[in-house]
Structure formats: structure tokens, C-alpha cells
């Protein structure tokens, strides 16, 4: 007979270990930085140096919190979108969301330059309208199945927004506005502070909690619509709900962090390699791994050089390398 119980307790142990690892990475991130000198701030320094305490509380902590939300959201959205669109190469950038958000941010920089909240608000609005446009266009396309239509529509809407972004860059002042746009497009957490945590946390926590709760049922949508229907689900409605939830989480973090690529593509693959395809297990793992990956990348982004390295560059570099490594490795036989 199959030793289900044994596998279960091993899985619980592994998840507990991973959660502990995330907490450890998070704590170390708070201590890591370039003040008072490069390296980890010791606890004795924290107890004597008021500036170091303020730094940890006002800069490193909100930044680490945003990094965790960013990584978890992108990875969860990647897992969900890949599963419900039945395509392991989908990432949250598809469906017009990222390009829409980029266009929105650039528009805000151009039109409302100094107002700090204009960028996240405009990025969210245009990111979500990217999704809405893709969805609307998909209904009009008379070719292929429902999933292919949505992906095609996403490609068209993305191209539309990226050409719009090109126009905005052309119009932007090359000395002031263009560098702002470019830096935002490369992504980073320099603007992370308590107000941005306050803005980002509610939509992220809400959407991730909801997707976490339905994590097993997401599996049904990996099947053909007809098979999912025969198993008593309503594939059209359930897929739409999950796509909208993922996109809200992605829009919320993108508004603060800019375009961070590769996390949503890479992390779900790693999670599936470790835990198998069942989203009941791969989705929580994906969230934890995504959070850890972005935390570590951001530690490097802010600590390695005297200047800030754009986070999006690091996740893309690290992500692409890891992805290549993962894809060329021998697949292990599946275990329960």
C-alpha cells in the first residue's frame, strides 16, 4: 500500500522549514545594508545607534514587507495564470497588465510629474484596463478556443500599450522625465515606505488569501473546459474570477515597484518541480519561494554597490539563469 501518511508528515516538515527560512531571510534583510558600514548591522549597534534603529524601522522594514508582497503576488499570479490558462509559459506580464501599468506610470510622470501618488494610481488603473481590454477583445476574436483567444488578445493589447509608451517616451523631456520613466520601467523598491505598505497590503493580502483558500480547486481549470464542467465546475466564471484576483495583486505591487519580470515565470516552475503540479501544494510553496527570491534580489540591489541597482534587472538576470539551469536539468521521477 502507498505510505500517504509518511509523505504528509514529511511535507508538513518541509513547509515548516521553508516558512522558517523565509522568516530568517526576512530578519537578516532588516539587518543587512550599508549603514553604519557595509554588512549586517549588529544588535549592539541597534541598541546604541538611534539612526540605525530609525533606518531599520522606517526604510528597511517597509521595503522588506513590500519585497515579500511583491514576490508572493507575482509568483502566485504566475502559478494561477499558468494553471488556468493551461500554458506553462504564461506570466503576469501577459494579458496586457504590465504594459498597461507601464503606460499608466509614464503618463503620470509626464502629466503630473511631482505628485507622488499619481504613479501608483495611474499604473493600477491602466494595468487593470489592460486586462479589461484583453478580456473584451478576446470575446470578439473569432478564432481558436477561449484560452488562445485570451492570449492573442493579451498580445495585441500589450503591443498597443507598448507603442503608446514609445510615444510618451518620445514626448518626454530627455533630461528629467525620460530618466524617471526608464528607472520606473526597470523596477525597484526605492519608493517603498510605510504609506506604500499601507496602499499595497490590503489588496495583496485580500487577493492572496482568497486564492490560497481555493488553492485545490484551481486544479480543475488545468483541464479542458468540458472536463472541468463535467466535474461540476463552471470553468468560464471560475477562470475569470481567478484571473481578476491575480491581476489585482499584480497591479497593486506593480504600482509601487514598477515592472519586475521573470519572478512570475520562474518561481511557479521551481515550485512545481519541488511539489508537483497540484496547486494545493505548489501555490503556497510558490508564494514563499517568490517572497524569498525577491527579498534576496532586493538585498543585492540595495547593498551590493553604493548606488542602487534596479531590482527588475536583477530578477531578470537571476531568473533567466535559474530558468536555464532548471530546464536543462534531468527531471526527477515523481513522488507522492
Amino acid at each position: 500500500m502507498i505510505p500517504i501518511i509518511e509523505n504528509r508528515s514529511r511535507r508538513v516538515l518541509r513547509n515548516a522549514g521553508l516558512a522558517a527560512a523565509l522568516i530568517a531571510v526576512f530578519t537578516l534583510s532588516l539587518l543587512w545594508g550599508r549603514y553604519p558600514h557595509v554588512g549586517f548591522t549588529s544588535l549592539s549597534v541597534l541598541s546604541t545607534d538611534a539612526l540605525a534603529r530609525a533606518l531599520v524601522w522606517n526604510i528597511r522594514l517597509p521595503r522588506a514587507l513590500i519585497a515579500v508582497m511583491l514576490g508572493a503576488s507575482l509568483a502566485a499570479a504566475g502559478t494561477i495564470l499558468q494553471t488556468v490558462l493551461g500554458n506553462p509559459l504564461v506570466e503576469p506580464g501577459l494579458l496586457g497588465v504590465s504594459q498597461g501599468a507601464a503606460f499608466g506610470a509614464a503618463l503620470a510622470i509626464l502629466l503630473a510629474g511631482g505628485v507622488y501618488w499619481s504613479i501608483p494610481v495611474s499604473a493600477s488603473v491602466f494595468g487593470l484596463s489592460g486586462l479589461a481590454l484583453s478580456w473584451f477583445l478576446a470575446r470578439k476574436i473569432r478564432y481558436g478556443g477561449s484560452i488562445l483567444r485570451l492570449v492573442l488578445a493579451g498580445v495585441v493589447v500589450s503591443a498597443f500599450f507598448s507603442s503608446g509608451l514609445g510615444v510618451l517616451k518620445y514626448l518626454a523631456d530627455p533630461r528629467s522625465e525620460l530618466p524617471d520613466i526608464t528607472f520606473w520601467l526597470m523596477g525597484g523598491l526605492t519608493s517603498a515606505d510605510w504609506p506604500s505598505v499601507g496602499r499595497t497590503a490590503p489588496p495583496v493580502i485580500l487577493t492572496l488569501a482568497l486564492t490560497f483558500l481555493v488553492r485545490w480547486r484551481i486544479n480543475l481549470l488545468a483541464l479542458d473546459d468540458r472536463s472541468a464542467f463535467a466535474l461540476g465546475s463552471n470553468p468560464g466564471r471560475e477562470r475569470l474570477a481567478l484571473v481578476v484576483l491575480s491581476v489585482i495583486a499584480v497591479a497593486a505591487v506593480t504600482a509601487t515597484a514598477g515592472i519586475i519580470s521573470w519572478v512570475g515565470l520562474l518561481v511557479p516552475h521551481v515550485a512545481r518541480k519541488l511539489e508537483g503540479a497540484d496547486t494545493a501544494r505548489s501555490l503556497p510553496l510558490s508564494m514563499i519561494l517568490g517572497a524569498m527570491f525577491v527579498l534576496v534580489c532586493d538585498d543585492i540591489a540595495r547593498g551590493l554597490l553604493t548606488g542602487e541597482i534596479p531590482l527588475g534587472l536583477l530578477t531578470a538576470l537571476g531568473g533567466a539563469l535559474l530558468f536555464a539551469l532548471l530546464m536543462t536539468r534531468e527531471e526527477r521521477p515523481l513522488k507522492g
Binding site: 488545468a222 472536463s227 461540476g232
Partner: protein, 262 residues
């Protein structure tokens, strides 16, 4: 009472066409499937066997007329309850991810679980028991995409069994299988038949029909389906008219064997 309780699936004046302007594939079709019986849909390619199954499943809507399960209009039955009543074994299924056989079979428990729940220990035991019954429990931890065609078909059948349906739709269950696997499918279906489930099978293989079916429905493209007992339908004249080739039926070792062509 308009409905006899021993009829589980009723098609009442059902008309279906792919687009409003098209000539209907089915026009005012009336069929009754008795409880616990085995019915086979036979007909050439394109005669609408799969479409007929999809109509009964509720996946496609009829242009007019009504389809009732146990006396209730199909569209009025809530999704999860429908999933507990009726299961489908498709010919094949898209699967982009490496689910294990056990994980895959457990999806059959979905209609019994509340939206936020995952399968628990009783579901797992039920799934393993069904895998055992179909004879593939040794595959439980293998990845579904790496199975052979025959093994995949067994997995799809097991998932449908785990759904514990009262009505089971099977789309060409023995298609593309080697003789050994075909015999296994026949044995499984034979067992299901004696357990009292209503089976609706589409098949190209009149051999399966002669061995299993109580009722046979002949689907001619563009004509009214004809339903009758297996003995009345599986006769040379009807089959040769249906497929447009010569047919001869011989008996050997208590079984009817169909010879096609000259």
C-alpha cells in the same frame, strides 16, 4: 406525472445546429434512456455522437426542446449536483502539467467538496480503491503525461468512477487501444453495467455494442436517430445503410461478429 421514474435521461424534441443558419445536426429528436441500462450511440464520423453526449452532459445547449435528467431540466441542476449525478470519460484530455495519477483521479471528488476544501483521507482511500478496481493502483505516483494511451484511458475511467455517478457517459472508450487494454475496458464496463449505473457509450466498434448494449441508437448524419434493442439494430441491413458499406454478421462461440466490406 409526466415522467416515468425509470427513465433517467430524456431528450424531448431536441433540435441542435452549430450556427443559427445551418441545417440542424439533430431535429426534434426524442430519446429515453431507461435507468440502469446500457445504450450505445453508433454512427459514422461526423454523425454527431460526441455532440449528442455533450448535449446530454449539458455542455452544449439545444436550440430548442429540452433535456432532462431524472425528470429535471439539465440547466436547472446546480453544477456540483450535476457533477455528482453524471460523469464523462472523454477520448482524451489536454494536460499541460505533470499531475500524478492519484492527484488527477482525486479531481473526481470535486463535486463532493465545498469550494474551499481539498480532498481528505476518505477521498484518498476511495481513489486508491477505485485505482485498485481498475487495476492501475501501481501507477498511482506516476506522472499522467508520461503514461501510454491505454493507461491514460484507464486513469480517465478511474476519475469518472471516483465521481460516483449514476449516469456515466463514455466517448469512444476503446478507441486506439490494443486488444488487451480493450478487453480490460470491456470488463470494467461489464462490471459497471451490473452495478446498476446507466451507461451511455459512443462507439465505432459494433463488437463492443453487441457485447454490452441493451439499447442501440443509430445516428445518421442529417436524419432522425433510431433507437431500438441491440438485437433489432445490429443487423446487416441497418448497419450497411448506416455506414454505406456491405455488412455480414456471423455467430461464433456465442458472439456476433461483424464483417465489413465484401
Amino acid at each position: 406525472m409526466t415522467e416515468k421514474t425509470d427513465i433517467v435521461v430524456t431528450l424531448d424534441d431536441v433540435t441542435f445546429s452549430w450556427a443559427a443558419a445551418d441545417i440542424p445536426l439533430f431535429e426534434k429528436v426524442n430519446l429515453n434512456f431507461p435507468n440502469g441500462s446500457t445504450a450505445c450511440l453508433i454512427g459514422p464520423n461526423g454523425s454527431g455522437k460526441t455532440t449528442m453526449m455533450e448535449l446530454i452532459l449539458g455542455w452544449r445547449r439545444a436550440v430548442s426542446g429540452s433535456i432532462r435528467l431524472e425528470g429535471r431540466t439539465i440547466s436547472s441542476i446546480p453544477s456540483r449536483e450535476r457533477g455528482r449525478m453524471m460523469a464523462l470519460v472523454p477520448q482524451e484530455e489536454r494536460l499541460p502539467f505533470s499531475y500524478s495519477v492519484l492527484e488527477y483521479v482525486l479531481l473526481g471528488r470535486a463535486p463532493y467538496l465545498p469550494p474551499l476544501a481539498a480532498p481528505g483521507k476518505p477521498d484518498r482511500e476511495l481513489a486508491l480503491e477505485a485505482l485498485d478496481r481498475v487495476g492501475i493502483v501501481h501507477l498511482s505516483h506516476r506522472a499522467v503525461p508520461r503514461l501510454s494511451g491505454g493507461e491514460k484511458r484507464m486513469v480517465l475511467i478511474t476519475r469518472a468512477l471516483v465521481q460516483e455517478p449514476r449516469i456515466l457517459l463514455l466517448d469512444e472508450p476503446a478507441n486506439h487501444l490494443d486488444p488487451a487494454n480493450r478487453e480490460r475496458v470491456m470488463d470494467i464496463l461489464d462490471n459497471l453495467k451490473s452495478s446498476g449505473i446507466t451507461l451511455i457509450i459512443s462507439s465505432h466498434e459494433p463488437d463492443m455494442v453487441t457485447r454490452l448494449a441493451d439499447w442501440v441508437i443509430l445516428l445518421h448524419a442529417g436524419r432522425k436517430p433510431v433507437m431500438g434493442s441491440s438485437n433489432a439494430m445490429i443487423v446487416p441491413e441497418k448497419l450497411s445503410e448506416l455506414y454505406g458499406v456491405k455488412v455480414k454478421i456471423i455467430e461464433a462461440e456465442g458472439r456476433r461478429i461483424i464483417l465489413w466490406g465484401k
